[in-house]
């Protein structure tokens, strides 16, 4: 895309003799409209140009006095076909320094798409937007006074070409006009001042006019606006905008009276403003509005599927010369703004300031790409200063690449989308979660290591040794308990075999179970004696030894009882006693068993708590 280079602050200091420009082009008809209804001055000129010379022309020169050229925020040119149809194709406009032109003029050349041959006629529309061109006069007003501003321009179109017929219309915000330069063919109709038509004016004709009129439109000027657009591939584009706003109109003098302000709440003639309207993209979410000292609670958000509107109210009404600064931020769905193109990712988002009718002196747009992005470049439809930075945010190691674009004198016309291309590997997304996971993992590992490492300094102290011994006692006690528990498990099996017997009457399997249990008991007894031996030898175990002994004894008794019961039941079944009889025979066993079982359980519980 063609990028026009516009360098604003440039002067013609090289002495050039005033020579009438020789040009073959002639402007047949020119219609100029100056719109002064807001703080930005928009001049729309429709030119009808004929090439009267012999050679073909490839460009059309536009001339502005240098003091005006300094305030040019945007200069655009279009072909016009027919009456009102304007081609959407913008023509390239660039700053030129032609030879032999008068000083203190700045020239721009409109590059025509196709050369204008001799005798051909061309219709051209030129839009120029100026900022800071309305000067408040008087410069200081009190709270209740209305704001008057002065605008200066030329009644004639300043051009290096001869203009055959021309006219000028100045559109004002209201009918209240303090004064305007009276001139031939000048008249005020409603809120518009008309000059012209004037015919056959030579090149570089210039006649200053001054319009002094009432303007109550808000002069909101953002001296500095920093927009930070941060892309998160988790699905969000976070936009944060830091404003430093000033009321650029006539300064307030004599203080501010809340009483006067409140008693006339809807005073329309006042130049102060209370609200600003920001038009955010649709589906903007998590909108906030705050400043250095906290949240500003006066804002309203409304929106539908096509737009989101944020009405923000600064903490205090803005009077001339008053400043404020604030931050608004919002999140946008990633899929609305990020696209894929030829292996690259492509961010397509609006460049300018979303607040209506605000002039931005210095706009800095920072595009924060995700960590690990590379090969990035931007494509902006107008000239900007660019550089790169690094930003550190959550869990960044290398930092996120930031593409910074800077532009001065930004008007709502610059609210156009711009593109940022970059490459980004999706796997990089996983880096930060993995870092967190491994961090926590290491934390737990460190804790486990800490718990298992012997940190004591003196390995021979009494307390250390006794601690070691106690550990030993605990392990052997645990062993004892586990053996006892296994015994109890076998008891369960025996009981189960008895239940099976009562259901099926299968004496043989019951006997088999008994046999298996007996062998297990024998093994367990060996193990138990081993464990008890080591426990007994330890001096630390003296306190718990009686309990352990008691437990072992009870368990043995329990075991014996159970075996007794088992054999008597099996015996009765073999002798085919009735159920009642069996019950009677084992009733005593049963009672004793339950009681013993309880005692064993209690003992196990007590010992369990020790280790």
């Amino acid at each position: 895309m063609a990028i026009s280079r516009v360098v604003l602050f440039l002067f013609f200091w090289n002495a050039i003799l005033w020579t009438p420009a020789r040009s073959d082009l002639v402007i047949l008809k020119l219609d100029r409209k100056i719109d002064l209804t807001s703080q930005t001055v928009r001049v729309t000129s429709s030119l009808k140009i004929e090439n009267a010379g012999p050679s073909t022309a490839s460009k059309v020169l536009l001339a502005f006095p240098s003091h005006q050229a300094r305030n040019i925020a945007e200069l655009r040119s279009f072909y016009r076909e027919g009456k009102s149809k304007v081609s959407s194709d913008q023509l390239r406009v660039e700053l030129v320094e032609p030879q032999g032109m008068p000083p203190d003029l700045t020239f721009y050349a409109v590059q025509l798409q196709k050369d204008l041959r001799r005798g051909e006629i061309l219709n051209l529309d030129v839009l120029a937007v100026f900022t800071h061109s309305l000067k408040p006069f008087p410069e200081q007003i009190s709270q209740t006074e209305v704001q008057l501003v002065v605008f200066q321009d030329s009644a004639y179109y300043l051009s290096p070409y001869v203009v055959k017929v021309q006219s000028l219309g100045v559109k004002l915000p209201s009918k209240n006009v303090e004064s305007f330069t009276k001139f031939e063919n000048s008249k005020l109709i409603d809120s518009e001042i008309k000059y012209g038509p004037y015919e056959n004016l030579p090149v570089f004709s210039y006649t200053p006019i001054v319009v002094h009129f009432e303007s109550s439109s808000p002069f909101a000027v953002a001296q500095e606006l920093l927009r930070e657009i941060e892309i998160s591939h988790w699905g969000n584009v976070q936009v944060t905008e830091h404003y430093k706003l000033v009321h650029g109109g006539a300064h307030n003098k004599g203080g501010f009276s809340r009483f006067d302000y409140q008693s006339r709440p809807f005073a329309s003639e006042s130049s102060s403003f209370r609200h600003l309207l920001a038009r955010l993209p649709p589906r903007a979410h998590s909108v906030y509005y705050r400043d250095e000292i906290g949240n500003v609670s006066t804002s309203h958000l409304r929106g539908d599927s096509r737009k989101t509107e944020l009405v923000i109210e600064p903490r205090y009404p803005m009077f001339g010369g008053w400043k404020t600064s604030f931050t608004i931020g919002y999140g946008l769905p990633l899929k609305d703004f990020l696209f894929q193109s030829e292996g690259r990712r492509l961010l397509n988002i609006s460049f300018g300031c979303p607040i209506e009718d605000v002039v931005v002196d210095d706009l800095i747009v920072k595009v924060v790409l995700p960590e690990g992005s590379k090969d990035f470049y931007s494509s902006v439809p107008f000239s900007t200063k660019q550089w790169e930075e690094i930003k550190y945010s959550h869990l960044d190691i290398a930092g996120r690449p930031v593409l910074v674009l800077k532009k001065t004198n930004v008007v709502p016309e610059h609210n156009e989308p711009f593109l940022v291309y970059y490459r980004f590997n999706n796997l990089s997304l996983l880096r930060e979660p993995l870092m967190l996971v491994s961090g926590f993992f290491l934390l737990f590992v460190a804790y486990i290591v800490f718990m298992h490492v012997d940190m004591s300094i003196s390995k021979s102290s009494a307390s250390y040794i006794s601690k070691l011994q106690w550990d030993e006692v605990q392990t052997s006690l645990q062993h004892v308990l586990s053996v006892i528990n296994r015994c109890l498990a076998v008891h369960g099996k025996l009981e189960a075999s008895l239940r099976d017997l009562s259901r099926t009457g299968d004496v043989r399997s019951c006997k088999a179970a008994r046999k298996a249990a007996d062998s297990v008991f024998k093994e367990l007894l060996k193990e138990l004696n081993l464990a008890l031996g080591s426990l007994q030898s330890s001096p630390q175990a003296a306190q718990i030894w009686p309990k352990v002994e008691e437990l072992v004894a009870k368990e043995r008794e329990l075991q014996e009882r159970l075996i007794l019961k088992h054999s008597s039941v099996v015996d009765s079944y073999e002798k085919k006693h009735s159920g009642r009889e069996i019950e009677n025979r084992i009733a005593a066993h049963e009672q004793k068993l339950v009681a013993l079982r309880h005692e064993v359980d209690d003992l196990i519980e007590i010992l369990d708590e020790l280790c």
């Binding site: 004599g254 009562s502 079982r597 708590e609 280790c611």
Partner: protein, 733 residues
């Protein structure tokens, strides 16, 4: 018959199968001890989270912002610390406050809080968490409150048992008396200081219990942190000697105590002297003398014990004792007398006096008496802040006395002394809160444990009887019931339910208090609108931001000292006086200016280079803590230094009024004029004459206020803050 037998078999089989299931469950189950550990740890974690999250009401209701007055200074200094580093902070001379005197910030503050917040901030930054310093500051107090619960657990465990520790942690997590100073945004010294206080006490008690140098050293460091964080460390350095003294007197002197106290005192003192604000005060000022005295007493005690051991003769030792005690007392008294007389030992400060004698401040230091949080506490606020703890406290004391140990003596003394201080000053309820929680926890834990053990024996025997359904179980039940009173179990159950009811009321009360009373940032005022909706008055910030943006950067703002910190922090402008009320004369000068006629005040303001005057006025909204209601304190404080200002001039028959019957001096003083400028034209309430003051409910007496040397520069949307510009002298206009 057969059917019956089958039934019997079924019963046995079902019982044994149930036993089998139980058994298999047991082999899977954690051990009782592990279970208990798991429950304890998870309860502690939940309490930790609860303590943190209950303090976030203010963030939810309002926003993540700094509250009140002092926290703004702390925030500003923390900001300075994080931006400029520690050494710049330590040597910071602040030109923006106390114009034209300035303030040596590094030497006149307790840096603990700021350093803590900055440290957290730097740690987060190090781990690449891009937190904002404001968020860190806002959440510092809840974070430390959550840590306090853990300390309370260990402290309770040390004093009583782990059950009491758990209850103490749960109680302190939501105790309103503590929450009032530790909600999110309440970025004040107390936020970390209560943690430090309790931690120091815990470590000291642990040191006394174990006699270990390591714990004693740790408590010295805890004390150092406390000294760096809050002026309330004086409580520690007086309570611990008192405690030691009590132990000595009650014959509980031991080697453990000797080690713990000496190490803690000496190291703690050396460390505390590193804080510039404390410095040599720690060995020179009257408040710290008790600790030093007890230190020497300990040495005496030890020395006497040694001599006794050496002499091994009672008579000789008696004689020696007499001589040495007389000598020691004489030398001590002489040293104290000479030190005080020569000015080497500074006398007690006013604040300390006012603690011992609640009426002292009222008579002598109006500037201390003027602060609402220095007022004696009302009964209702005890109830409001402690709720059931107030009932549990005596019960807990009973249990403590029943089981006297070194640790319980400590908590009893901490509880009683802090209760006294809480009665003297509202803000010291905060210091009493941990003690109340701990003692209350002992009461709850001991009671519930007793009751539960009663209920448990019953339920166990019930279980066995239902399991067996045999005579044997009945017999055992009878045996268990043997000595017990009739209906004991039922009563125990009822009492248990009662305890749980009380505790649940406590929880409800705490939540309600936190959300309704203690979560307001006081810088943003909320009220109910006519239609029931919430109306927010954000006038303070409106005014401060206006100052910040629309006045020259070197403008000096005069206001009553309450707003000083906020103006410097939020308005970023120089103030004449602020909440660090170190210079009474300077404050009195401002008070004098406010209570003089405009032309006299103009001269004072000229001499102080004042560019703007800020007053707070609640007449439109009915906001009662405004400057007109504080005005008498300005008169008193001004009059305390400048006898030209006399309080009776502003009163009519001893009555303070602003209506037609007000004193003429009142109607024409600067404060009156600034508050009511153009208010006479304003209709505030339907059906009332213009100039009706809603805060005081009267029609004002002077409706035609003319200002000669000042002009209204800004008034906020609800008139709460009014800013006036001081005009230059008339020949320079």
């Amino acid at each position: 018959m057969g059917v019956k037998s089958e039934e019997g078999a079924k019963i046995t089989s079902s019982a044994s199968s149930a036993g089998g299931i139980l058994f298999s469950m047991r082999s899977l189950k954690l051990k009782t001890k592990q279970q208990e550990l798991l429950i304890r740890v998870s309860v502690l974690c939940l309490v930790y989270l609860l303590a943190f999250s209950v303090r976030l009401f203010s963030v939810l209701r309002y926003e993540s912002m700094i509250h009140e007055f002092d926290p703004y200074f702390n925030y500003r200094t923390t900001l300075f610390l994080t931006e400029n580093g520690f050494y710049e902070f330590w040597n910071w001379f602040d030109y923006e406050s106390w114009y034209p005197l300035g303030r040596i910030v590094g030497g006149t503050l307790y840096p603990g809080l700021m350093v803590t917040a900055a440290f957290i901030y730097w740690t987060l930054r190090f781990f690449r968490f891009a937190a904002h310093i404001r968020e860190v500051c806002v959440l510092t107090a809840p974070f430390f409150a959550a840590n306090t619960t853990i300390v309370a657990y260990f402290f309770g465990k040390e004093i009583w048992d782990s059950g009491a520790g758990l209850v103490a942690a749960a109680l302190i997590a939501i105790c309103p008396g503590y929450i009032s100073r530790s909600v999110a945004g309440s970025y004040d010294n107390e936020g970390v200081a209560i943690f430090a206080l309790l931690f120091t006490f815990f470590l000291f008690v642990k040191a006394v219990n174990t006699g270990s140098l390591a714990w004693s050293l740790a408590s010295a460091f805890g004390y150092f942190y406390m000294v760096s964080a809050w002026g309330g460390y004086v409580f520690i350095i007086n309570l611990i000697p008192l405690y030691v003294l009590v132990l000595l007197v009650t014959g509980r002197y031991s080697m453990r105590l000797y080690v713990a106290y000496n190490c803690m005192y000496i190291l703690g003192m050396l460390l505390a002297m590193q804080i510039r604000f404390v410095g040599f005060q720690h060995v020179q000022s009257g408040e710290h003398m008790a600790a030093m005295g007890v230190f020497f007493l300990m040495q005496m005690f030890y020395f006497l014990g040694w001599v006794k051991h050496l002499l091994n003769d009672a008579k000789l030792f008696q004689a020696f004792l007499k001589i040495s005690v007389t000598l020691a007392v004489g030398v001590g008294a002489l040293a104290l007398g000479v030190g005080t007389a020569s000015g080497y030992i500074s006398p007690w400060t006013g604040r300390f006096y006012s603690l011992l004698d609640p009426t002292y401040a009222k008579d002598h230091i109006p500037i201390i008496a003027s602060v609402s949080e220095h007022q004696p506490t009302a009964w209702s606020s005890f109830m409001f802040d402690f709720h059931i703890l107030l009932l549990l406290f005596p019960a807990g004391l009973y249990f403590c006395f029943k089981r006297l140990t070194d640790a319980t003596i400590f908590i009893v003394m901490y509880g009683l002394t802090s209760m006294y201080f809480a009665g003297v000053m509202v803000r010291l309820i905060l210091v009493a809160a941990p003690a109340m929680c701990l003692v209350g926890a002992i009461a709850i834990s001991a009671t519930v444990k007793n009751l539960a053990s009663l209920v448990r024996t019953k339920s166990k025997s019930q279980q066995t009887s239902s399991g067996k359904g045999t005579g044997h179980a009945k017999a055992s039940l009878k045996a268990a019931l043997g000595q017990s009173l009739p209906f004991q179990k039922n009563v125990a159950m009822a009492l248990l339910f009662g305890a749980f009811y009380l505790l649940s009321r406590y929880v409800i009360h705490c939540t309600w208090v936190t959300s309704e009373a203690y979560s307001s940032p006081s810088i943003v005022l909320a009220a109910r609108g006519a239609n029931g909706g919430r109306v927010i008055f954000d006038d303070y910030r409106e005014a401060y931001f206006w100052l910040r943006q629309n006045t020259p950067p070197d403008a000096k703002v005069m206001s009553w000292w309450d707003y000083g910190y906020q103006i410097t922090a939020m308005g970023n402008r120089t103030v004449i006086v602020d909440n660090n009320t170190w210079n009474n004369t300077h404050i009195a000068t401002v008070g004098r200016a406010m209570s003089s006629y405009e032309d006299e005040a103009y001269e004072i303001m000229q001499s102080l280079d004042v560019d703007y005057v800020l007053v707070v006025f609640g007449g439109v909204t009915g906001y009662s803590s405004d400057d007109i209601n504080k005005f008498l304190w300005m008169v008193r404080i001004g009059g305390g230094v400048f006898p030209v200002i006399r309080e009776p001039d502003y009163l009519v028959n001893g009555e303070y009024r602003v209506d037609k019957g007000a004193a003429p001096k009142m109607l024409n003083c600067l404060m009156y004029k600034l508050c009511y400028y153009r208010f006479g034209e304003m209709t505030t309430e339907y059906g009332k004459p213009p100039g009706y003051d809603r805060a005081r409910g009267v029609e004002i007496g002077n409706k035609d206020v003319k200002l000669e040397h000042l002009e209204e520069a800004y008034t906020t949307s609800n008139w709460i803050v009014r800013i006036y510009k001081v005009k230059p002298p008339s020949n320079r206009r």
